[in-house]
Symmetry: C2
Subunit: 199 residues, 2 copies
Amino acid sequence: MTTAQRNRDLAEQQRSRDDVVRAAGRLFAERGFHGTSMRHLGNELGLLGSSLYSHVSGKDELLVAVVSRGAALFQALADEVLASELDPPQQLRMLVEGHVAIVADNLDEARTILNEARFLPDTARQPIVAMRDRYEAAVRTVIERGVATGDFTAADPGLAAILVLSVLNAFERWFRPDGTRTREQLATDMYRFVLGGLR
Amino acid sequence: MTTAQRNRDLAEQQRSRDDVVRAAGRLFAERGFHGTSMRHLGNELGLLGSSLYSHVSGKDELLVAVVSRGAALFQALADEVLASELDPPQQLRMLVEGHVAIVADNLDEARTILNEARFLPDTARQPIVAMRDRYEAAVRTVIERGVATGDFTAADPGLAAILVLSVLNAFERWFRPDGTRTREQLATDMYRFVLGGLR
DNA sequence: CCTACCGATCGGTAGG
DNA sequence: CCTACCGATCGGTAGG
């Protein structure tokens, strides 16, 4: 073992699979899946591209890991909202606030899920699409409940859900972690906007 | 008509630069800029990748061409709306309807401009970003005018503009040319939604 | 628009 | 996690 190698080993820790997945999320979000090479990803972690294969079986697996992690968070939020006993406007508020929090805390995963999920391998795409559909269904259900109670007006709840999701999904595009407004302020403004749209 | 059939039909014709740019838009929208190779693009047109270099100087130029074409359309709409003498709600309606029409008629360019513009070469990115900012400013101006007249309520017109643009920009993601609702219906529903959000 | 290439880089593997 | 590779593909060029 050379001195240089020992120095590197002492200076830097071993990378875990989780470190690799997180770095992959960062690069996929920044440069896209096809714009990111295994060598570049390795370089980001201070090692060679070929060394990544001791952590993952391939590049596709990294995309699946990044997207799955993000999708699980949105999934959990949707289930939590639907299971709550709040009235529809409060459920909608909970959805917006939860969505904003997930995106703000997992920006790389959110960006990757929105822009790169279409490049998932066929075998992995189906369950991810199912999770996205379930999230969309949760938004639609909240809207339908609100229409039933008279809190909302929506001639077409399916389309209304798409428009609410438009506002939610765009958040990862314009959110800046170093911005002046707090997440709570942003969530409140977004909630008021979509609430207005549903009346 | 399948791509293979179209390729056969075009087998004896010369392709123009415009054909190349259009095909590039289709592939960039479908598979992303980095997921599209010059060979694949050539194959789409029934010729070799190397033959494309008689039409364009390189792959980057194709991205610039696709994005510029789309950006010019949105630019023209923004200028037209601001120059009109309609009241703010009608200007907003004009903006939504125009946006929907542009996206529906130029889906590949719209998708490319939204998802691939970040891969523009540095020299070309600046003017494109400026056009996008100008479009955003037009939306904000309409909102500010509406606040001044009392038609709209928006504590923060800048944020309100972002939320309106969220709805507009998401349109290219869920619009399906073979859907049941007409563009006019979709534009009307989108208009009502954002109008509600501004009150 | 094709033939015939170029060097660079891609995802990935064998073996230690 | 590295060394030393592999075949395939990348964007692009020279010359016709």
